[in-house]
């Protein structure tokens, strides 16, 4: 009886802790509204800004969840997004077709992802280091595409009509739905979680590591392609600095959203969306509060770091081991 009670208590605590990222998001949103009221901000512009600044990150991060579920880590996501946006921009400028632009963005990012995954799985290379090399190569290719015709940018004109929050939200909704379906309702997601949770056991049951690694990179590639497409529309001028902060922010976002870094069965698609919106809302709050303070950007970053560590700590409180994690 007592044991059952303890178990109940434990599982209730587990549930509450697993909700920490969502609770954090709600609290941040509440804080944003309170401070916004005090500071008399423009809420319409504010919410639009949050959506505009979060969605691209959320889309790329959602696709990346498949890679992280396997316990792998891709550092080249930002560079892939840039090269995808460059390709899309050049195709649009050459053809004037938005659809061809979309196809170019997704195709380029898929090729980049497939190269990473093939190098990783066929040649047995550590994914992280492979993607470090890919990051350099993709950045160099972007540089060549951007400066190919002289100048320091790819300017895309005629797409301002597409730059609205509804298109972004629709793309996010469709892609998230696809990812949730694949992740939660097909054997692909289940097997990827199994591989991330216990690769040895999963392999012994006949699950192909190579096949599911490639599939993970394909899903991430689609996300990157969509992110590159929306980046090209939003930025309208692509330079070598475009999408520069996406790479590491993806990682921050999904961990902030409650995704365990080791991947496995506790991986959740929604972590990317919650995390992306949380860090952008936190940034907005800090901008409101600190913009007039000297060295404000540094202070804001320190606050973000403390929030990040505290949130991740709380969200993973039940998964401590005796040994130090690696």
């Amino acid at each position: 009886m007592d044991k059952a009670k303890t178990n109940d208590k434990y599982s209730r605590r587990q549930k509450i802790i697993s909700l920490t990222p969502i609770i954090g998001l709600v609290l941040l949103l509440a804080l944003y509204v309170v401070i916004g009221l005090i500071k008399d901000i423009n809420f319409k512009a504010g919410f639009e800004a949050i959506v505009n600044q979060s969605v691209i990150l959320a889309i790329v991060a959602t696709g990346a969840i498949f890679i992280f579920t396997l316990g792998s880590f891709d550092i080249s996501l930002g560079a892939s997004t840039l090269v995808s946006a460059c390709a899309g921009g050049l195709i649009y400028n050459a053809t004037g077709s938005v659809w061809l632009m979309l196809v170019a963005c997704v195709a380029v990012s898929l090729i980049a992802s497939l190269i990473s995954s093939v190098l990783g799985s066929i040649f047995n290379l550590p994914v992280f280091v492979t993607t470090v090399a890919m990051m350099s190569v993709l950045s160099a290719i972007s540089e060549m595409l951007i400066t190919g015709k002289g100048g320091n940018q790819i300017r895309i004109t005629g797409l301002s009509g597409l730059e609205n929050i509804w298109l972004k939200l629709i793309v996010l909704a469709i892609f998230s739905a696809l990812c949730v379906f694949v992740f939660e309702f097909t054997k692909i997601g289940r097997r990827q979680k199994a591989l991330g949770g216990n690769p040895v056991c999963a392999k012994l049951t006949g699950i192909s590591v190579k096949k599911y690694a490639i599939l993970a990179f394909v899903m991430a590639g689609i996300g990157i392609g969509l992110g590159g497409f929306l980046t090209a529309i939003r930025a309208s001028t692509i330079t070598s600095g475009t999408a520069g902060d996406i790479g590491m922010n993806i990682f921050i976002a999904i961990v902030f959203g409650g995704m365990p870094i080791s991947g496995g069965p506790r991986s959740r698609i929604y972590a990317a969306i919650i995390g992306s919106f949380s860090i952008k809302i936190l940034s907005q709050i800090l901008t409101m509060l600190l913009a007039a303070v000297p060295g404000a950007n540094g202070i804001a970053q320190m606050v973000r770091a403390v929030f990040f560590l505290a949130m991740v700590y709380l969200a993973s409180i039940n998964y401590r081991t005796k040994m130090l994690p690696r």
């Binding site: 880590f73 550092i75 190098l119 040649f123 047995n124 290379l125 550590p126 992280f128 280091v129 492979t130 470090v132 090399a133 890919m134 990051m135 350099s136 190569v137 950045s139 160099a140 290719i141 540089e143 060549m144 902060d245 790479g247 590491m248 922010n249 990682f251 921050i252 961990v255 870094i261 080791s262 000297p294 060295g295 950007n297 540094g298 202070i299 804001a300 970053q301 320190m302 973000r304 770091a305 403390v306 990040f308 560590l309 991740v312 700590y313 993973s316 401590r320 081991t321 005796k322 040994m323 130090l324 994690p325 690696r326």
Partner: protein, 346 residues
């Protein structure tokens, strides 16, 4: 018949060959390429200073990365430790009117403390090091920016502070001291044996009573000390510390150390991995000097480095297969020669 002396000689020769082949071959190939293009890697009096400084910077960064990465701990905060320790020590040195040695010592002290703090956060929170190091990188980048109120730190006109980075002997002493201390600490001390035990079998080692926490914190502190020297060398050779590194602007240095780390590890099989890191740093600096002499664009440099990294990793990860293929070809060649000979005889 092989005598023990012959075996030893062969072993030493094999070790020396394996240890030196990469830097020597790379140096010769690059020298040849430069000569073919009518340029030289060492074209002026400053070249050797730049070379030695480059070797010191790459070697220290590689060791700092490898110390934790060999134990499965990714550390994204290396660059931020270098910058923050340089910022703090520079501010103090400039305020008190100190010289190069004051700043170097202060850098090492603060680098060690910042590294230990980074390690402390890791062992306290018990989160994967990849996560804590990202948090620490954000924290230190923000702190460097806040301390200076967003202003770069300039050493212009303060020749006292930059004396070490213009003196080859001092930099060689730094390289030698770091190498000796690292070898003693990690290969010859009780701490080092425990470090290696933890590296080889974490669970068994912890169960046998090895204190993993203190071992990890010391690793981070030592890594921080090394990065502080990198921060010092970079800052004083340039004359400016840029604090425009917010949003992970400091993590790039970590990626540049991967290739030398793998090369160093490979060389280490034939001698000692720390010595391997030195030779790998020499190899990488040969590349840098050649890129400069050949006036290669940065995008071309990036692609060459990335391809080298991937090719080297493919070799390392598939060494047995590569050797099997090579051996198979060798047997085939032998077989072919034999059959050709028989045919000719017939």
């Amino acid at each position: 018949m092989n005598t023990p002396t012959m075996n030893n000689t062969r072993k030493i020769a094999r070790g020396a060959f394996g240890t030196l082949i990469i830097p020597v071959a790379v140096g010769l190939i690059l020298w040849g390429i430069c000569a073919a293009n009518g340029v030289s890697m060492f074209s002026n009096a400053q070249s050797m200073t730049i070379f030695v400084r480059g070797v010191a910077t790459v070697m220290l960064t590689t060791i700092a990365l490898a110390i934790n990465l060999n134990s499965g701990r990714f550390d994204f905060s290396l660059g931020s430790v270098a910058t923050l320790s340089a910022v703090i020590s520079a501010q103090i040195t400039l305020n008190i009117g100190g010289n190069a040695f004051t700043m170097l010592i202060l850098s090492i002290v603060f680098g060690t403390l910042l590294g230990a703090l980074s390690g402390g956060i890791y062992v306290l929170l018990r989160l994967p090091p990849i996560i804590t190091s990202l948090g620490v990188a954000l924290l230190y980048e923000g702190l460097a920016f806040t301390i200076t109120k967003g202003s770069n730190v300039s050493f212009y006109g303060k020749t006292d502070v930059s004396g070490i980075t213009t003196n080859i002997i001092y930099m060689m002493i730094i390289i030698a001291v770091v190498l000796v201390v690292t070898i003693v600490l990690f290969d010859r001390s009780r701490f080092g044996f425990r470090y290696k035990a933890l590296m080889a079998g974490q669970k068994v080692s912890v169960n046998t009573g090895i204190k993993e926490v203190s071992n990890a914190v010391i690793c981070y502190a030592f890594s921080g000390a090394l990065m502080s020297i990198v921060g010092y060398l970079t800052a004083t050779s340039v004359g400016t510390i840029s604090v425009d590194i917010l949003n992970f602007g400091s993590i790039g240095i970590m990626f540049s150390a991967f290739l030398p780390m793998f090369i160093g590890g490979f060389i280490g099989r034939y001698s000692n991995d720390k010595l391997g890191y030195l030779l790998a740093a020499i190899t990488m600096t040969f590349f840098s000097m050649a890129y400069s002499a050949l006036n290669l664009k940065s995008s071309t440099q990036s692609i060459i480095n990335a391809v080298l990294l991937v090719v080297f990793l493919i070799y390392l990860s598939n060494e047995k297969t590569v050797k099997d293929i090579a051996a198979l070809r060798h047997i085939r060649n032998l077989f072919k020669k034999k059959t050709d000979g028989e045919t000719n005889n017939a």
